[in-house]
């Protein structure tokens, strides 16, 4: 090939074509949406997010949750997301109106968007498989304790907590501390057990609360599913 100018023009042209085609034009199409509301101007969807939600999103991003969770529900003809009760309908652009950053990525776990049933099974698979063995967030996990606390808030139960402790130890290498096996933690756990109360290994931290606020405010479904659980366990989340 001779001549620099055609080469540079071509390089520039192909780039511009792709940039305009995949970002600029779609932005014209779906980049300027407004929230929907009914005739009286109430029941706004999606509602603007609270400050706590912002904080939650930051925790979510900082800890690399994005590497395993898509925050997206696919259509019923394309996947079994809706059958799995991960959401009531497929996600639409408007759902993400106030999300920043949009935490939608190369997911290997279930969607976090419209709520996820938090059974012991899920918790175990969550900690043991997705994270311990495969996930890229090991590196991104800034503080091990932070992660384990989030999980603690999420799922209670002695057996599960034990599993999580095992996992937290593997994280502890990167983090500063975990309260999982400390004598103080153990004795506290014994007391709770003797009273017949749910065994929580961790403590409700502001960050953990924030992340739940961030996720839960996405839909009321999540809140409906989980708030009871939290309140039952003596935690009140102000959502």
């Amino acid at each position: 090939m001779k001549g620099l100018i055609p080469l540079v023009l071509g390089i520039f042209g192909t780039f511009t074509f792709s940039w305009v085609g995949l970002t600029v034009i779609p932005n014209l199409q779906i980049g300027h949406l407004d929230p929907q509301m009914d005739e009286e101007g109430t029941d706004v969807y999606p509602a603007p997010k609270s400050g706590m939600t912002e904080r939650g999103r930051h925790v979510y991003a900082a800890n690399g949750c994005i590497y395993c969770h898509s925050q997206q529900v696919r259509a019923d003809y394309a996947a079994s997301d809706i059958d799995r009760k991960w959401g009531e309908r497929r996600s639409a652009p408007r759902d993400y109106l106030f999300d920043r950053p949009v935490l939608e990525r190369e997911s290997r776990g279930p969607s976090r968007r419209n709520g996820i049933s938090c059974s012991g099974k899920v918790a175990r698979s969550f900690t043991r498989k997705s994270i311990c063995f495969s996930c890229a967030c090991r590196f991104a996990f800034s503080k091990a304790s932070e992660f384990s606390r989030c999980i603690d808030i999420f799922c209670s139960g002695g057996r599960i907590a034990g599993r999580i402790t095992a996992c937290a130890i593997s994280f502890a290498r990167w983090g500063r501390s975990t309260c999982g096996r400390s004598a103080k933690c153990e004795s506290w756990r014994r007391v709770r057990k003797s009273r017949g109360e749910p065994v929580w290994r961790g403590i409700k931290t502001r960050r953990a609360t924030a992340i739940f606020s961030g996720l839960a405010s996405s839909t009321s479904l999540f809140a409906a599913q989980h708030l009871n659980r939290f309140e039952h366990a003596g935690l009140s989340l102000s959502l």
């Binding site: 900082a62 993400y96 498989k129 800034s142 503080k143």
Partner: protein, 471 residues
């Protein structure tokens, strides 16, 4: 200097034209001018590679990809640019400053992620303050490449230069566009995901991919001492690559909350990448025709050809997993991780390893000391990455099939992949071995402990008469 110093020429000029002494000296001078910056890029690349290997047992290399991948890629690209422009690198120390600044930016970014400052955009995790440093450093580096181009001698622009110039120009535009649309004037809602994947895929194709392909176009003909089979094929391959691969970004968002046309356009573009893949593959194959036995001897050729073949496999897999009927199962599974690894490691990293085996001896004036270590490096990498990809693919397909079946609990799908992920950990061990072996060997070269010899290090003793001249 040996027979590998046959210059690259257009097909019209016979490849076996005698190389004059003047050209030899000229080349030695060019190599000498690039010595410090290129070695600096390589050294920092290897430090990041080891750090990445140690930090995360290799599983998360995507997170620190800018370090090893970009450092090594830029080192090779600068050397190739100087060689092909037939011009000495002016003021190499300023380029060294650029490299230093770049690594400072990476350090800042990695530190930022560890401190919890990740932006939350995959492939763009580095917090904005690191991005600014990276951008400034990159501008410094790129201006050198462009300056070399400006001072180039000869009219002909070789294929490798198309790809390198493309990479050098595409990367800053991409990076700037993504930073602008995500952080400076953020786009609304779900468009952020579109911009994010547009950037991520183009980073893979237009930056890493372009450097990898350009390097392969230089190394294969150079090592076997034979011109590229067809310039016309190469031209078609380059332009279709630029056109189609830059449109593939949205295939990762199949069935996401986007207008269907965006995703369909990307799937179509992915299918059309068969054209550049076929032309590039055919071109390399025809160039290598009759010279495949040389892979027995030349480390560079072995790594490069492996990388070039991986590029074909990578693209074929890309087409397969982009189809809606397949994506239904494999989207959001380990299979998409396998795809990224194929591109970044089996293709790009292996080609770059190959180029380093070629370039480093010319910079330090020594030959690689142990053929056995090169062989160990090669086989550990090949088995390591091969195993990793097979495990992730098999695990990913099973995981996807289970995930698609709502009667199975979600945890079943994660249970299914467990044995495969253990296999993957095994592959991590192999890759760790390969990286440490290579780093040790590179260290020997760096400290002047290589062999002093006029003959390059062959992987096996050369048996047949005549082949020696080509290695």
């Amino acid at each position: 200097m040996d027979a590998t110093e046959i210059p690259l020429k257009a097909p019209s000029i016979p490849a076996d034209a005698p190389t004059s002494d003047v050209e030899q000296i000229e080349r030695a001078l060019i190599d000498a001018s690039t010595r410090v910056p290129v070695l600096m890029f390589y050294t920092s690349a290897i430090v990041w590679l080891l750090l990445g290997t140690l930090l995360a047992g290799f599983v998360s290399f995507k997170l620190h990809s800018p370090d090893w991948f970009s450092n090594a890629g830029m080192g090779t690209a600068i050397w190739l640019m100087a060689r092909l422009c037939r011009t000495v690198l002016r003021h190499p120390l300023l380029l060294v400053a650029g490299a230093g600044f770049w690594n400072f930016g990476v350090l800042l970014g990695v530190g930022g992620i560890l401190m919890g400052d990740s932006t939350g955009y995959q492939w763009l995790e580095f917090p904005p303050y690191a991005a600014i440093v990276l951008f400034v450093a990159y501008s410094l580096i790129i201006s050198w490449a462009v300056l070399m181009f400006r001072f180039r001698r000869g009219d002909q622009i070789y294929i490798t230069q198309w790809y390198l110039l493309g990479a050098f120009l595409w990367f800053p535009w991409l990076y700037a566009a993504a930073q602008l649309m995500l952080f400076v004037v953020p786009v609304q809602g779900v468009m952020q995901a579109a911009v994010g994947w547009w950037f991520a895929n183009n980073l893979l194709f237009l930056w890493f991919g372009a450097i990898g392909l350009g390097t392969a176009y230089y190394m294969i003909p150079k090592v076997i001492g034979r011109p590229v089979y067809s310039y016309h094929l190469a031209t078609i391959g380059f332009w279709t690559y630029a056109l189609f691969s830059s449109w593939t970004g949205m295939q990762r968002l199949v069935d996401g909350p986007f207008p269907a046309w965006m995703i369909t356009a990307s799937i179509a573009a992915t299918i059309l990448t068969i054209i550049p893949v076929a032309t590039v593959g055919l071109n390399h194959h025809m160039t290598m025709q009759g010279y495949f036995p040389l892979m027995r001897y030349s480390p560079t050729l072995r790594f490069t050809v492996f990388g070039a073949i991986s590029y074909t496999v990578f693209s074929a897999l890309g087409v397969l997993i982009s189809l809606r009927s397949v994506a239904r199962y494999v989207n959001f599974t380990q299979a998409s991780i396998a795809y990224s690894h194929l591109g970044l490691y089996a293709f790009f990293t292996m080609v770059i390893f190959g180029s380093m085996y070629y370039i480093v001896p010319r910079l330090v004036g020594r030959e690689w000391r142990y053929a056995s270590l090169i062989k160990l490096h090669f086989w550990a990498s090949v088995y390591g990455i091969g195993l990793m990809i097979l495990m992730l693919l098999a695990g990913g397909f099973l995981q996807g099939a289970n995930m698609d079946n709502p009667s199975l609990a979600f945890s079943e799908s994660t249970q299914t992949i467990l044995p495969y992920l253990r296999g993957r950990s095994l592959s991590g061990i192999l890759l760790t071995v390969s990286h440490f072996v290579f780093a040790f060997h590179f260290g020997l070269m760096l400290f002047g402990l290589g062999r002093t010899s006029s003959v390059p290090t062959f992987l096996n003793p050369v048996e047949t008469e005549g082949s020696e001249a080509h290695i």
